[in-house]
Amino acid sequence: MKKVMNAGLGLLMAAAIAAPTQAEDVKIGMITTLSGGGAHLGVDARDGFMLAIEQAGRDDVEVLIQDDAQKPDVAKSLADEFVQRENVDIMTGIIWSNLAMAVIPSVVRQGTFYLSVNAGPSDLAGRLCHENYFNVAWQNNSLHEAMGEYMSTEGFENAFILAPNYPAGTDALEGFKARYTGELANEVYTQLGQTDYAAEIAQIRASGADSVFYFLPGGMGIAFMKQYAGSGVDIPVYGPAFSFDEIIIGAIGDAAIGVRNTSQWAYDLDNAANQTFVSSFREKHGRTPTLYASQGYDTARLILAALEVAHPDDKDAFREALRAADFDSVRGDFRFGTNHHPIQDIYVREIVASGDGVTNQLVGVAVEDMQDVYVDQCSM
């Protein structure tokens, strides 16, 4: 009996060792936020990514998905598992910049490719840039910079600006200030994950500002805008698309109508890739995709395009293929700068009533061919 067991075990082990040697398969590890207040960002990024993979119909691409619960330590240990035990070729999925900073530098140093679907902290675009790291979304500052420029041209001169105190929050306010020409009524950092904004709204009321710019992604944005609408303060608000994605404005409701926000993508952008994406996403999931879904979709399509050229085992060839970015992005023109961050148009959208809810409508271009300001600090 024991002999049989041993033989069985031996067979199992042989099978386990043999499995990874089927060299043609590509393993992608996705760590993203699927639970907690920030869950809808990760869920949309995942759904967009998986939609593109399914449409490609390739059965040699395996995607492993894990939930980081928006916790840096969880993300770090999942990344170690993916790199060391699963031997993934490519990693992707992280939404939050504080998690990105905990995970990405060590992953790319170990030779694994990382393609960011969302987080684009300034350090990774500048002094910590790496040849194996690509950002398919944006550098964190971009949408905020564009809004700074837009609000300046709209004639606002005394803005109250607000963001959570974490890498993407400081990037947001720095980005806004880079192109905004007016005065600041106040600059306030809140806690990440904060849900009560009574104190900040009272400060806005007392500040005498002519406009409010805020970056509050996920549940934070819902809480802020609902409380703002109920407070009786009527200073107009602006922000990046992260504060006004389809899920957030759905939860805010009519109070969001008229708010303008900047985005690198809109679901009503007129190009063939986007129309295919939006209609197939709606058909599969029964909701309008957010920008996070578009980023997930683009990331997967970039990977698939590069896989047509080379396998990730051939690192140099695969890297060159990624760099070429030879795919039809749903946001229109798309190319990489020397620091592997996008150069792309940033659009302005306005929230309008639609059916029994509200939705974002494309208004125009805020900044054309925007590139991040950290590219010069990157020695690649």
Partner: protein, 306 residues
């Protein structure tokens, strides 16, 4: 910083404090009477909010939703006490922490399974929307004012319940000597279930009222739970009066710290550095407060004598 802004921020602190009191009073009662550390208290907060959002969505009436949410949280509390918590009273605190932490995971996953991971939609009722003008020319949201009023009423109600009623007498007796009250013929297990359901109901009420202001989402209870633990440690574990004072203290210190500290730092550093540093220190402030209080009063402000 004008006087009216300060007054408004004090009200905000008070409002946060009354909410924390609803959470902390249940937590401290359960610890005081049963000697149980209940990490799953935040799950009742979440239950209250979700049921309120759901019932309000179906019936279109916030008040029906609020009642349903509170009762559902109390009922879930009673059920959990009967099914799980009951087996933990004689175990040590580590076992209780482990088991109630497991409950958090079960509740969170269960809620996600039922409602999905997107935040739910719950609005302030029409009759309490908008804001009112208070002395000092402060415009204040009516709903937040109503929360403060409700918190005060519940604090008075709890005080009367505990000092004037037979149930309150048993609760106090249970706090003082658990074995003796059983020996005197009080049905201890019913008392425990009642106290637990009361605490869960208060947490559910807090979750439901706050859910209308913020967003109703999985995991919304845990940040509040941490604050509630700070409150009961400051107030003295097991003391309702301590929970009230601790909650108001934490609410006011947290709110004013967030507003005033960045201004203080602006006196000697650049504006954006000051807001960053100020915000970082403000988020630690209540823990610093807790540490200072514990140095002078190791058992909290109103320590319960055992």
């Amino acid at each position: 910083m004008t006087l009216s802004l300060l007054f408004e921020q004090l009200l905000n602190g008070l409002q946060l404090g009354t909410m924390l009191f609803l959470m902390a009073s249940g937590l401290t009662l359960v610890f005081g009477v049963m000697g149980l550390i209940n990490l799953a208290h935040g799950s009742f907060y979440m239950t209250g909010a979700f049921v309120t959002a759901w019932v309000t969505g179906t019936t279109g009436n916030f008040w029906v939703g609020l009642l349903a949410g509170t009762l559902a949280a109390a009922a879930v509390g009673a059920l959990v006490e009967f099914a799980v918590i009951r087996r933990l009273y004689h175990r040590d605190h580590l076992d209780q922490v482990l088991a109630t932490f497991a409950l958090i995971l079960i509740f969170s996953e269960g809620t996600r399974w039922l409602y999905g991971s997107s935040p739910l939609w719950l609005n302030v009722p029409g009759s309490l929307a908008g804001s009112v003008t208070l002395p000092f020319g402060v415009e204040y949201p009516l709903y937040r004012l109503a929360i403060i009023g409700m918190g005060i009423l519940i604090a008075i109600g709890l005080y009367l319940l505990i000092s004037r009623t037979r149930l309150g007498m048993r609760i106090r007796a249970g706090e003082n000597d658990r074995e003796m009250i059983g020996a005197l013929g009080v049905d201890i297990s019913t008392l425990y279930t009642l106290v637990f359901a009361l605490g869960a109901g208060l947490a559910g009420l807090a979750g439901a009222t706050i859910g209308a202001l913020q967003s109703v989402q999985v995991g919304m209870g845990e940040p509040v739970l941490i604050l509630a633990f700070v409150v009961i440690v400051i107030g003295g574990i097991g003391s309702i009066k301590g929970a009230l004072v601790g909650a108001l203290l934490v609410g006011v210190v947290d709110t004013l710290g967030r507003v005033l500290l960045p201004d203080v730092f602006k006196l000697f550093m650049g504006a954006s550095a000051a807001s960053g540093v100020g915000a970082a220190i403000a988020s630690m402030l209540i823990y610093i407060l807790m540490a200072i209080i514990l140095i002078f009063k190791p058992n909290g402000l109103f320590a319960v004598k055992h």
